[in-house]
Structure formats: C-alpha cells, structure tokens
Amino acid sequence: MPKITFVEPSGKQVEVDAPAGITLLQAAINNNIQGIVGECGGACQCATCHVYIEAPWTDTLPAVGDMEDAMLESTAADRLPTSRLGCEVEISSAMEGLVVHLPSKQF
C-alpha cells in the first residue's frame, strides 16, 4: 500500500496508507482529511475534491481528462498547474510518497 501524505489547509500533515485502486478522494475521506468535500460522490461533477499535487508528482500522474479539465475551470480555490480532482486520480503502487495539498476552500 503506497504511503500518501495529505497536507490539510491548516498545514497539518497526515500520512496514510492508501490501497491501490481507490481514488485520492476516497483515501482522503476514509482518513477524515480536512479540506476535501466530494459532494457528487466522485462523479466528476462538483469540483469540491480539488487538490494540489506536489512536485515531482504533478507530471508523473496520468494526464487530466476532458471532463476533469472542464471541472477544474470551476474550482473555488485558484486552479494552478498542480491542480487535480481527487476523484479522478486513482492511486497506484507507483505513487509511494505522493504529497497532496488541500486548498483553503472548496466552495
């Protein structure tokens, strides 16, 4: 199980063991991470699972899809080059050590 670190809006770091195959959103929800909402339940419809992926991972994750790209246009916190939707990133064993920052707001 890859270890993933979530950095909450307060700056608090939480390291979790996340099984491959679930999404970053699910891993965050399962571990009660602050700063993520996921209102549409992972359907890529609400943009309230917005996260920032820390370098060097930004470039190594699977690319942003069309649906995700359109939703990222509507995030509450600014869209940055490191922005992703947590429900669209599936965790794989290659993601050991991934660091994910939560934005200050999701609405």
Binding site: A43, M67, A70, E73
Partner: protein, 413 residues
Amino acid sequence: MTQPAIVVLGNGQAGFQVAASLRDGGYDGEIVVLGDESHLPYHRPPLSKAYLLGSVEDAGLAMRPTAYYAEKRIDMRTNSRAKAIDRARKVVSLEDGSEIEYSHLVFAVGARNRPLPVPGADLGGVYFLRTLDEAHALRQRINTAKKVAVIGAGFIGLEFAAAANHSGAKVTVIDVLDRPMARALSPQMASIYTREHTKRGVDLLFNTQVAKLNGVNGQVQSVETTDGRVIEAELVVIGIGVIPNSEIAEAAGLEVRNGIVVNEHLLTSDPNISAIGDVAAHPNPFADGNYVRIESIQNASDQARAVAARLTGKAVAPYGAAPWFWSDQADLKLQIAGLTTGFDKIVLRGDPEGTSCAMYLFLGERLLGVETINRPGDHMTARRLLATRVTVTAEQAADESFDLKQLVQPAKA
C-alpha cells in the same frame, strides 16, 4: 438551560449536508440526525452506475467515516425512524417510543419508490433502486441475469439498463410515454438516447403499458404488456418515479402539495420547521418562481447549505442556486443545467448524429437551460451563465466560433 437540539429528519444527501454545514458554520449546539436506514450517510448516484458494475465498493460510498460524526459532535442515528411531530410541544416522536425536543426541525426525508400497481409486482426477482440495500441486492444479480426488463425509462431505469447491458444481459426497457426521460429532457435530446441505447443492444418499448408480471414459484419470469406482449425476464427493475415522504409533515398540519411546501427561504408555515431536498416543494427563480420539487444532488446540497446559513444567522437572500444534474448511461455523460420545462426553441452545438453535442433551450429570448452529452465545457459554462443571469442570445449560442465562456469570464486586461 441549554437550547434543545436542531433535529434533522432523514440522513441522506440533504440531511447529512445540513448537519455538516451547521457545524462548519459555527453552530455550537446539539445536532441530532435521524435516519431510518441501517447505514450512515452514503452517496446515492453511484448506486445505479459504478457500484453496480463493481468499480466502487460499499466503503467507497460513505460520505464520511464513522469518526467524523463524533469529531463534529453530530448525533447521526441509524435505524431511527421518526413517527410524528408535535409542533406545539416542539418534539419529534420516534418509532421506538422515545421523544426528542427540537429548537428547529429540518425535514430532509427525501422520497420513496413509486410502487407499480399491477399483479405480480411483489414477485421475487423484482427490484427497485433507491437505497444501498436495494443496490446491493441488484449487484448480486446483475452479473448472472440473462434477461432483464426495466419498467420506466427515467434516469435510474436507463442507468440500470445500460449497466445490465454492459454486463451481458439482454435488456428490454418499457415505458408508457413516447420517449426516454420524457419529463426532464427535450424530445430532441431524448431521441439521441433512444438511438444510442438501441445501438448498444438495448430494446426500448415506448407507448407501452405493463399489465402484469408473471412468475413461477414466486419468481418473476416475464412482463406482460396491455397490448398482449410477453417479455421474458428473470430480473425486473421498476423505476417509475418517486413519492415524496411528506406524511409526517401533513399529519402535523403543514401544507403539502407534491412535497412539503416551503417559502423562498425553505421555511414551512411553521417558523421552527424547514424542509429541503427531494421532499421540498419550493418556489424556484429558474421556474419563474413556480413551486417545484427537484430530485438532484445539487438541489439537496445547496438547499441544505442555505438552511444551515440561515440557522447560523448568515443568509438573507432567497434560495436561488442554479439547478444542475447529470446522468451516466453507458459512455454517454448527460448533463443538464437549468430548468427547461416550457422551452420553445433549441439551438444546437456539435453533431447530434454523434455522441457529443449541446442543446441550448430558450423560451423566447431567455436561455432556460442547456442539455449536453459529453460536452463538459459547455455544461460548466452554462451553469455559470445561469448563475450569473448573463444574457445569451440564440445567435451567440448558434455560432460555434463564439466562446460563450467570455460572457461570464471577461478577458483579463
């Protein structure tokens, strides 16, 4: 003496969200949420989509882990069914005989499946699809069923049909109306869905009424229509709409008309009682102020936040969030922004012969809403156009070289 709790009836999308937003909004008092199902709040949309196909597990449906509720001091009760309310004493009585006093009460009790009033509807192998338990049972059956009938070509029926078809079953969908999703979708968009489902191997029977379900040894075997057709099926899903759970409110003397009637602040005629989500008949600015009951995640969540804001002393504006909705059927992502009933003109973008297009629905000069298939950009722009009430003309909508986004996002200088 401490104030009585804010009590929420129903722990679905709306009930969960109002509790969470009350806490996040600074409400420090007691919050009690009663749910009659055996599960903590979970997401319903995947039940007819990813969950059926096994790409989401039960654990992935939970809105929050158990620890969340303790941490937020939300008394989230399962297997707790409210039976009645006494508005004079401001108490809720539960089916187990206990009572809870409230300072404010929120109805978030949702809706239940509309039963199919024909003989045989209670046979084994006949299912509805609203709760996790129902979806769980269907998920056990969907992989092995060879012949499936779906009664009702609404969103949930068609999502299930697409999933069963994907799993290899022979699927027949039956509806009394003349096209799919007739109550919510333009005939033009509906015809694309008829074509695409047919192309993928689903049989669609419109203008067809079910007379009865036939069975052997208590298990369904076929669906018989009033015009005498017999459609073999060992698995039948009924999706013919819902009935709002407004009985408790009605018994307490609150006004009920296709749902619990609330004003533009989502308050009932009793200032201590609000109603939100699938059960709330509310005046909606996107329906010209007419009373509507909307069954969507957007509606449940935005109304929950609006009530939480009011109860924490923040809200002033009448409720008026722009409606949006989605439905995933096979590889077709349907998205709807706005309320489109009564449109008199359609402007098209993209190719309606393919599977990526947008339909802009106007009434006179006014854009009522936008239906899209696999055009998320158009959908998101539509949400913002509607929310900001920017004027869009039919000419602008028709001109594909005109970027509608610039109407809501003026180019940065």
